[in-house]
Symmetry: C2
Subunit: 324 residues, 2 copies
């Protein structure tokens, strides 16, 4: 290093030299993210946003980790159902439940969304919230994905982990806002994403407080009391966070209203859609499919100024190594 | 000051000399609070609790501010109802609503809790969450209490503001967990208590996301979807915070389960009941009354190790001057 360069380097913080998004290719998507973050964090910029308003929300399934061949929570529910049915086959009171316990995915999917809810209701009930989280955590860190062979907890997207860290380093607060169950995600959110339980918003099951043999418990009762999807996402955000975010990322039309509401606010806003374009390293799907359907988002992203991230073109790597 | 004392003073941080609770008399209650906080924050203590687990929850009505002659939110709802009825008398579809709009408190209270819900439903609907919060904020800071003559927002308890600040200074996170409406409290929580919207848990009304003339809005629709009271408080805490607090403060049997669940956890725990014993400076009520009834809490506090704070004996002053 020449002396002059050394002197300059010594006066500039190390962070200014480090690439905050090393697993992102140098494409428009990365440039747009960095331009946005630099604008809202620069006190001299017209785009400056105070720290308390730097709220970023992220969908989970298909945005922060994979959602194929099925939402991980459904795969977990099927495993729990199978285990419960071995002990007590009488719980298999419908064709969908019988198919699920037998590993017949076609029969199981024939029940549609209602069938999936039925499976979750049977498998996620009669257990305290704390025991449920411990059990889900054990499954997420030991069971392996059917085709990738990775533990489910390892199927987070490295570029998105970097984005979460980058935003937090710039004094954003990062939230998960998922159609998945809030207790299921909280079982792993701190470990997988560095996101504590109180920054997780999700669908909610019915939970009851009771004192059993002198011990107060919160018991999961089955039944879904709030669906945090589509128009439910802005409702869930307002309920849990109490104000509108300035940054929202999703991957399916279930995230449309979250991006719509976020980016309709005054001042600088960022909407991002993760586009599953990488059949080789992950999966390729969008307009057609049984999960993560993305139609309206693709149709309207350009007009709305939302950034569409191509996993194939914009990311150097897919699966994460470690959070920081 | 003698030179030796001066030298000692110079080496000890100023905070060690300052009384964190100057509006508390030097009674057992204050000593118990300070002993608890010093234990959980001392890394060398067996009672040490890491910062992420230092979660403290506070009821609002009757714990952080007054709740007489009626919950402030009900008084606000009556004012809004009267205003709406002047424009459109046809909204007064029941005896309770007619009584409320006419200022007939006896007729209004004859409807019991259902009547209060009816008033809140009519007055808190057909408005966006953001407009509602702005309107509630204006009322809380300009309308005055019927007998005390203070603005409602000024009827916070100075000793409790000091306690909130003390806990936050010691790296606790302070939450409100109220039977009152979450949007109503969020209208003033940052200003009155230094508590941001995402640290407010409360009862929830039905909110709908809709796009009106191209503008996405969250509209309050009337109807109550979640009651954050009694056994609902642990449920609300688990939903919003996702873990059990170590410190809980309330003033009525509506807070019993919150204290029960909080103090049943492992490790050091603190349960506090504010006892309204000061007829002169505030109000005196407990076992009998139309609001803030405290029976089970008084009966069981001693056996459960909960601290009962007498407003008359333990507090030098009642109403707050300013938050910090």
């Amino acid at each position: 290093m020449r002396p002059a360069a050394f002197l300059i380097a010594a006066t500039i913080p190390a962070a200014a030299w480090a690439d905050p998004l090393p697993s992102w290719n140098d494409t428009d998507a990365k440039a747009a993210i960095i331009e946005f973050v630099e604008g809202v964090t620069d006190p001299r910029s017209d785009s400056f946003v105070p720290e308390d308003d730097r709220i970023a929300v992220f969908d989970n399934d298909g945005t922060l980790w994979s959602e194929q061949p099925l939402y991980f929570q459904v795969l977990y529910a099927v495993d729990v159902l199978r285990e419960k049915a071995e002990a007590d086959p009488s719980i298999l009171t419908s064709d969908v439940l019988t198919a699920a316990a037998a590993g017949d995915m076609t029969g199981m999917m024939a029940g549609g969304a209602d069938g999936l809810v039925e499976i979750i209701n049977v498998s996620h009930s009669g257990i305290t919230v704390e025991d449920f989280k411990a059990d889900a955590h054990a499954w997420l860190t030991t069971a392996t994905h059917p085709t990738r062979g990775l533990a489910y907890a390892a199927m987070t997207y490295q570029p998105m982990l970097e984005l979460l860290s980058y935003l937090r380093d710039e004094d954003f607060t990062t939230y998960i806002v998922s159609g998945g169950g809030i207790d299921f995600i909280r079982a792993i959110s701190e470990e997988a994403y560095g996101i504590p339980p109180w920054q997780v918003v999700g669908s909610e099951g019915s939970t009851t407080y009771e004192v059993a043999d002198g011990t107060p418990t919160l018991m999961k009762e089955g039944g879904i009391s709030f669906v945090d999807d589509k128009a439910g996402k802005p409702v869930g955000i307002m309920r849990h966070i109490g104000q509108r975010p300035i940054f929202a990322a999703g991957n399916s039309d279930g995230d449309f209203q979250m991006l719509e509401w976020t980016t309709a606010g005054d001042g600088p806003r960022f909407g991002m859609l993760i586009h599953h374009t990488d059949a080789e390293r992950e999966y390729a799907y969008d307009r057609a499919g049984h999960i993560g359907v993305l139609n309206q988002g693709l149709d309207e992203a350009e007009a709305r100024g939302w950034v569409v991230v191509s996993m194939k073109d914009d990311w150097t790597t897919i699966f994460g190594k470690a959070k920081r």
